[in-house]
Symmetry: C2
Subunit: 363 residues, 2 copies
């Protein structure tokens, strides 16, 4: 039998007597709650998972979540009011002094409230790294879910040229992409779809608006779906009619940069290597300094998980990590190109989980 | 000229020298950031709005957000690294001792990180109530956006019977609803659509699964869309074929409870009154004790804003508030009924912004 997630988590958290994972209301929910309880349903607002050093776990939920909670792991305790919640916290954390929180997802109010409810003297520890380290290595079930999400969004990526014609708006294409991902079995967007045409494509985080596609425009799409709570993430850039020589060259530089970065992806590699390889190639071109973000990030139940594929990253990659590979070049007022795949790190190298034609596509 | 949002905010925050609104990464974004900057685009990860007592505002963003940030309010400061961010924090918070945070959205890590960057001795104050009070009263532009979101989801609510037939799954209907809301101009789900058939309908927060609709089943749908970042929220419960006498009676009790609650909605009313009126009616029926949540909540850019229409609420309603009206009755293993509208509080009473046939609907 494989070691349970909670036991692995606590092995990554030496010195902590317990880890408390908290969910406030939507959108302040922590995907780690679903990770440790090993289920994929439920809202779990105002719910808490308390994992003690031995890996045992209490799951505190209100009555709205009771039925769903019982389908997951952990000892489910249903509270009916604040006093009962307080009682459960005191009991669950009995003898625990150093309490880890996911301080990058738990709200300030939640942490303060739990410390008050638990009473006694407690030390707050940052369990973020322990949680990230545990979640970074995906198991077979998780990889299967991500693979399915990637297959769904890849289908849409391949269909994209069919959605484009002069006069169609960013908003219309984004809506069609989202609907199609749902139709193909996706359970919802992994994040708000980016569809950016013409000069809008130079804003890496542009939201789709009323801009209508014109001949010669760049059309950049960054999107992903969820499947069983797991995300895919990909970017395809295409052109309506012949692009300028500058944009053609930009596309080729970004494409080569992605290949150079992906070449560095393997078990045991420095995460920074992939970024630096891609950046070196871009900075040796006329687009020097125009790659203004990182090469990649971790992907899981959250679209951004804390694996940083950036120039200064100190992390090492391991088999089972799932990361993006997304170099880009942006010229304000002119346009941008980004090419992105979701990639699984393997023992021998890596595997792209997304697929679409990477060569220059003119619609 | 009307008083700016930041001036109104600080008037609600006596004693605070500044309020810092923080965005971490997706999904830990605070809609208040978009509220104070008065824009509806951008991702604004790792971005901060600093509002001083006089209502002046600095907006700290990284280079990815620069172009978008400049389309909104506030003095935009672009940081290129941590050292520069730290410098801006020190300068923006010069002379400010009592710093308000939205402690129910700012993460513990963000608050600690900002205090460290700002340096000096600072007091943390909870600005949550000040922000909530400011955002609770919607202006004409906000109401127009909510009204549009409500019109979109109401169209889907009216079409719902056409989506239903024996053998269709919860997941399929939810996907169709979501696609249709997008097609009608919605910019994304306000929350994950709930579609719960038969016994699943007794779980108030059930996520759509593979259950297939059968004759005699209850079909409960809780859904909403966003438009210009603002949400709609509504629930319609219908039946495939004749329901049992018990379910018919349940439907009628919930329908009457909603009317009783909505009758209490007006400027100056105690928020608790609406809940108590609905609850009294349900508790006088054979479904006593089966209304296991609150009657309503505030609605805005977040699907749950802190107006609590619950038995113990101490809040008063005011013209310009937008709240849900959503009584429900749940019998585990049998089924549940919930009926919900989005409602605008007005000077004289209230106005339902959502619309659909409220009488018992047998498909």
């Amino acid at each position: 039998m494989s070691v349970s997630r909670t036991v692995r988590l606590m092995a990554n958290a030496p010195g902590m007597d317990a880890i408390v994972i908290t969910n406030d209301g939507e959108p302040f929910l922590d995907s780690s709650f679903w990770y440790v309880t090993e289920q994929n349903s439920g809202c779990f607002e105002d719910s808490f998972a308390i994992i003690r050093a031995d890996g045992s776990m209490d799951v505190l939920v209100n009555i709205l979540e009771e039925e769903t909670a019982r389908t997951g792991k952990g000892n489910v305790l249903v509270y009916h009011d604040r006093a009962e919640l307080e009682k459960y916290f005191r009991e669950s954390l009995k003898g625990c002094h150093k309490i880890g929180f996911n301080t990058h997802s738990a709200t300030y109010g939640q942490v303060q409230g739990i410390l008050k409810m638990a009473g006694g003297v407690r030390d707050v520890a940052d369990a973020g790294k322990a949680i990230a380290a545990t979640e970074a290595v995906k198991d077979a079930r998780e990889i299967a879910a991500i693979r399915r999400a990637c297959t769904i969004s890849s289908t849409v990526a391949k269909e994209l040229p069919d959605y484009l014609a002069e006069g169609v708006s960013e908003r219309e294409v984004a809506a069609r992409m989202d609907a199609r991902m749902r139709e193909l079995g996706g359970t919802g967007n992994a994040f708000d779809t980016i569809a950016a045409f013409g000069p809008d494509s130079s804003q890496p985080h542009c939201m789709p608006g009323d801009y209508k596609l014109k001949q010669g425009d760049t059309a950049l799409f960054d999107f992903g779906t969820k499947y069983d709570r797991y995300c895919s993430d990909m970017t395809r850039t295409v052109f309506l009619g012949q692009p300028s020589e500058q944009m053609k060259r930009m596309y080729e530089v970004v494409r080569q940069a992605q290949l150079a970065g992906i070449d560095e992806y393997h078990d045991g590699a420095d995460a920074a290597s992939a970024d630096l390889a891609a950046r070196k190639l871009i900075d040796a071109s006329e687009f020097k300094g125009r790659f203004i973000h990182s090469f990649g990030h971790g992907i899981g139940m959250d679209i951004h998980q804390p694996i940083y594929v950036s120039p200064r990253s100190q992390q090492k990659l391991a088999a089972g990590n799932v990361v993006s590979a997304e170099p880009g070049v942006y010229l304000p007022g002119i346009g941008g190109v980004r090419i992105e795949d979701t990639v699984l790190i393997t023992k021998d190298g890596c595997e792209r989980l997304t697929s679409f034609p990477h060569e220059l596509t003119v619609v």
